[in-house]
Amino acid sequence: MEDPVEAPDPDSVDDRHVVLIVEDEFLLRWPTSEFLRESGYRVIEVASVSEAIMVFSSNTRVDLVFSDVNLEGDLTGHALASWLEKHHPAIPMLLTSGDKRASNVVSSGAARPFVAKPYVLADVEQRIKDMLTRNG
């Protein structure tokens, strides 16, 4: 067997931005995550709000949250927006939905940026890049 290459260095500095994607539809989460990784982001994938909160509870660095509004289970993307507002107010959040009514709720409520489904992956990446640039 060929000698293995070195294992990753746990102390190495990773300067990629970390995007937490919250999407219960695997057929959307998979290509979106791959596109963002190929664009240079580190991506954490979760399928529900409770999983997203578990990621934050594990003290994992997150620079931006990209979340669907209509998720399986009791908690919606709006609930996650409220939770973030309370616990991590500095972390920007981009919401998405195929439901236009969801867009109205967001704009009148939490005032989170919104991208409608179906979305173009390059457009989402550009929005994320702009939000992270603004956030410093």
Partner: protein
């Protein structure tokens, strides 16, 4: 990972987000491509898409109709080109999985490097058998 394994695709099916996040990222840093799935049905979406997958890394306890054992059994029957590694936190899983994986499941809690070592062995074995 060996240099010739760079870019091999691991399809990881793990319902526990913290394990999935840590192990998938470790494997990516090793140089593998990793597709993250939460449920057994996600695996078939990937396989039916025509995307090349070299190894499926699955927890024995998955939600839905097919747990990890059923998933491994079906992959073994229909996709002989794909190896399966099962992981388990359940006592007794070793016995049950002996027919599905030649070396039994990796018991949780496990170190990501242990999974990577098993991946390396399977890829090397596959390479060797392809040469015969």
């Amino acid at each position: 990972m060996t240099k010739q394994d760079a870019g091999k695709t691991i399809l990881m099916v793990e319902p526990d987000v913290v394990i999935r996040m840590v192990v998938a990222e470790y494997l990516r840093e090793c140089g593998y491509r990793v597709i993250e799935a939460v449920a057994a049905q996600d695996v078939w979406i990937v396989l039916e898409s025509g995307r090349r997958v070299d190894i499926v890394l699955a927890d024995v306890k998955l939600a839905g109709d097919a747990g990890g054992f059923a998933l491994a059994s079906r992959i073994r029957q229909t996709r002989s080109d794909i190896d399966v590694i099962l992981t388990s936190g359940i006592a007794g899983a070793v016995q049950e999985s002996s027919d599905l994986c030649s070396e039994g499941p990796i018991k949780k809690p496990y170190e990501p490097k242990d999974v990577e070592a098993r991946i390396r062995v399977l890829l090397e074995r596959r390479r060797t058998s392809n040469k015969l």
